[in-house]
């Protein structure tokens, strides 16, 4: 399905309910992110790229799948921008395009790492299944 850019920008805004224009580029999200080392695009870049309408690039980024949904960035953002909510929105856009489950409950035990917080598991199901 062809998706034009305006449609992508509007969808990201609609799903997340976040206005990336309120970002003041302080970088507290990037400072707080525990998954930063594995990301190709840092959280503050993610916000500014949504603002610039570069959704397609974000949909192809690895950051999208490295975000732990720990919400440290949401918790600490002084402007209420919620970078992690934006990531979740773009993730959903990718998943909706793909259709189907990327993960099923049966696969979980072997992927399990003791250090993963409960919240991340819940989040993973939301992320990877329809």
């Amino acid at each position: 399905m062809h998706q034009n850019n305006n449609y992508l920008v509007e969808t990201a805004a609609q799903i997340s309910g976040v206005n990336p224009k309120s970002c003041m580029k302080c970088g507290k999200c990037t400072a707080s992110c525990p998954a930063f080392d594995d990301m190709d695009l840092s959280p503050h870049m993610f916000v500014s790229m949504v603002e610039a309408g570069r959704i397609r690039e974000l949909m192809e980024s690895t950051s999208l799948w490295k975000c732990l949904s720990c919400f440290a960035c949401v918790e600490r953002c002084p402007r209420g921008v919620e970078p992690s909510t934006l990531m979740e929105a773009v993730r959903l856009m990718v998943i909706r395009k793909q259709g189907g489950h990327r993960i099923s409950a049966d696969e979980i035990p072997e992927l399990l790492d003791k250090r993963i917080p409960q919240q991340a598991l819940t989040s993973a199901f939301r992320k990877y299944s329809r």
Binding site: K28, C29, G80
Partner: protein
């Protein structure tokens, strides 16, 4: 019947862009009483006012309607123009077709229709206007300054120098305010105490200044030129008139556990104390919550050692009642409490401090004697990290939405001073933006970077983690698109500036308005920056908004000039739009007396001739010198006897009729 002239202003394109001026002009020509209707690009200009004056002569106008901006802007201008043309100033009405029409509507047809309605409403009112003459009231030649920091002191000194009496009310035991706590001041790095304490002494010794410390304003009544104020002087438990300030009581006091507020709680003080050595007055105060004598009844050591016998455990609060012509608000600020910013560990880690705490640590008279030492172990730090914008520019409700304005400069100052005194210490600053507008300000900040080697990192700190006796500061470096982790021994937070807690209560007492951040609102953001919208109340310093010392002093002097201008008048013209009771209609119910906020209504027994018979009736009487024309009495009057001149019941009904037509 009135002969009314209507003048529709374009306000350049401010009105003309949204309202079809010609339509309004033509529509007004058929309104009752209107004999002349015209328009002009700028009615407030000299040419515009000339047009008004010419029309009065030519058409014999008795009433004038100006369709233009808010009456707060230019009502006085047009009243004066009318007066000059020989028309009573109170025969002028303003239809606000700018703020309430052109500025808020995009649709030209809608805006034009609304402008017509607003204009004909004003015409309907002028038809019932009557000429009014203001009375006069006396001006009490004494000013009250609330707050004894640098802002209050500067205002008081300027007023006193102009020859008027001033009282300063300060709630702390000493004057001096926040500036007394500072070490050096930017951008010249002169010592705060060296420039402040002489001013404190000047104020204390000035024959026109009285200082009430440890005192608070409790009640205010009256109005511009004549405020009655009740001040409560809290009991010091030390007789100020006989205390010599020798300090023996403080030496001997066995209660040593109270946090020293002046040193930001970095060390302890005694229960009987003077905030700092240069305090004015140099008279100790007993903290009754800490004093063993007050808590248990035993002790009294201070009283026994006092050579002047000045300690008085029985001392009561004193009440001072005084009248003032003008009031200056100079209530200052405090810094934001950081309970919503757990990530910086301020409450848990003693080595995470605020900038004001660092001021005390750097100050030669502070708890460390001016040595840069870690509060946790008293050792010298090797690395210091500053975090800017802590609680400023925060729209989440945890902090303040505004920029606190002074943090960029004082952080540069702190960073520079540390590198100057301790070149071996690494200093880093996390910043979002560096904001340095001001004379020699940007040069100052650049000196910190270029000459003193302070590392400025564009980014924010995510969290501070204690690690092996030090602090790990995790932040971002946005220009490098990286995360950084700095080991620090001291983390300094530039916590936001916040209006003092007393501002809100005082705003209520004085009916002065405040904004959502509890900063006092100025009467006009550009043209009346030191006046409160309440006549006779002036603003000085940070209580109006964050500002540095040079700006505070400039504003304090500006406020003083306004006060002097007011006090130099012997009489003030009073507002003639005041209430009057119709004695034949008055039912004597006392509603108006109860509701009047100024105490202007009283009841008298008067003999009236009613239905051909003389009767004694109890009727309301308005004291015209006290009434401020708020109109509360007219609203509660059940018999319709109370009426407000200039805003009579019939005038308001005529306006409503014109609106609904």
């Amino acid at each position: 019947m009135q002969r009314i002239g209507v003048f529709v202003c374009w306000c350049g394109s401010n009105i003309a862009a949204a309202v079809d001026i010609e339509t309004v002009v033509q529509a007004m020509k058929s309104e009752p009483g209107v004999v002349y209707s015209t328009d002009y690009q700028y009615m407030c200009s000299e040419a515009g006012q000339g047009k008004l004056k010419d029309a009065v002569k030519e058409h014999g106008l008795t009433g004038i309607v100006i369709c233009a901006c808010s009456p707060r802007m230019h009502e006085a201008t047009f009243r004066n123009a009318a007066k000059a043309a020989g028309v009573n100033p109170y025969m002028v009405e303003i239809a606000n077709i700018r703020e309430q029409c052109s500025w808020i509507h995009r649709d030209r047809a809608e805006a034009t229709a609304k402008a017509v309605v607003l204009s004909r409403t004003a015409v309907a009112k002028v038809n019932l206007n009557t000429p009014l003459t203001p009375g006069t009231s006396d001006v009490v030649k004494r000013a009250l300054v609330i707050g004894g920091g640098i802002a209050g002191l500067q205002s008081a000194l300027d007023i006193a120098e102009a020859g008027y009496q001033v009282d300063i009310v300060e709630k702390q035991p000493t004057i001096g305010g926040k500036m007394a706590q500072l070490d050096k001041t930017f951008p010249t790095l002169d010592c705060a105490a060296c420039i402040l304490t002489p001013k404190m002494v000047d104020a204390a010794q000035h024959e026109n200044i009285r200082i009430y410390t440890y005192s608070e304003v409790e009640q205010v009544s009256g109005f511009v030129g004549n405020f009655s104020v009740r001040i409560r002087g809290k009991a010091r438990s030390v007789k100020a008139d006989i205390c010599s300030g020798c300090g023996l009581c403080m030496e001997k006091c066995p209660s040593k556990k109270a946090k020293d507020e002046f040193n930001m709680g970095l060390n302890n003080r005694r229960a009987i104390y003077i905030p700092f050595a240069q305090a004015i007055p140099n008279v100790p105060v007993i903290d009754r919550e800490q004093c063993i004598k007050f808590k248990t009844g035993k002790c009294g050591l201070c009283a026994r050692v006092c050579p002047a016998d000045a300690v008085d455990f029985e001392q009561q609060d004193s009440i001072i009642e005084e009248r003032y012509g003008a009031v200056v608000l100079a209530t200052g600020f405090h810094t934001l409490s950081l309970e919503h910013y757990d990530e910086y560990q301020y409450a848990r880690q003693p080595d995470v401090i605020t900038s004001l705490e660092l001021e005390r640590i750097m100050n030669a008279a502070g708890p460390t004697g001016g040595k840069l030492l870690r509060p946790s172990n008293g050792k010298a730090p090797k690395s210091v990290v500053f975090v800017q914008c802590v609680g400023s520019r925060d729209t989440t409700g945890c902090g303040k939405t505004y920029c606190s304005k002074i943090c960029c400069m004082y952080t540069a100052k702190h960073a520079m001073l540390i590198r100057e005194k301790y070149p071996e210490v690494d200093v880093s600053v996390f910043y979002i933006d560096v904001r340095t507008p001001g004379k020699n300000f940007d040069e100052f900040y650049r000196r910190a970077v270029e000459d003193y080697g302070v590392r400025y990192i564009k980014g924010m700190v995510g969290k501070v983690v204690p690690e092996k006796g030090r602090l790990l500061v995790r932040g971002s470096d946005l220009l490098d698109d990286s995360q950084v982790a700095l080991e620090a021994d001291l983390v300094v937070l530039a916590s936001a500036v916040e209006a003092d807690a007393s501002a809100k209560g005082l705003a209520t007492l004085l009916t002065a308005s405040i904004d959502t951040n509890n900063f006092y609102t100025e009467a006009h953001p550009k043209l009346k920056p030191v006046e409160s919208p309440t006549a006779g109340v002036y603003l000085s310093g940070v209580c109006q908004g964050p500002k540095d010392i040079p700006e505070t002093v400039a504003q304090a002097s500006a406020a003083a000039v306004k006060v002097v201008g007011l006090l130099s008048k012997d009489k003030l013209l009073s507002n003639p739009c005041i209430a009057r009771a119709d004695e034949l209609l008055c039912s004597g119910c006392s509603n108006c007396e109860h509701v009047c906020p100024y105490g202007a209504v009283s009841y008298i027994e008067q003999e009236l001739r009613i239905h051909g018979r003389n009767q004694i009736r109890r009727i309301a009487k308005v004291n015209e010198a006290i009434c401020q024309g708020c109109g509360a009495c007219t609203v509660v009057c059940t018999s319709g006897a109370m009426d407000l001149r200039g805003f009579s019941n019939s005038q308001i009904m005529a306006e409503v009729d014109a609106l609904c037509r």
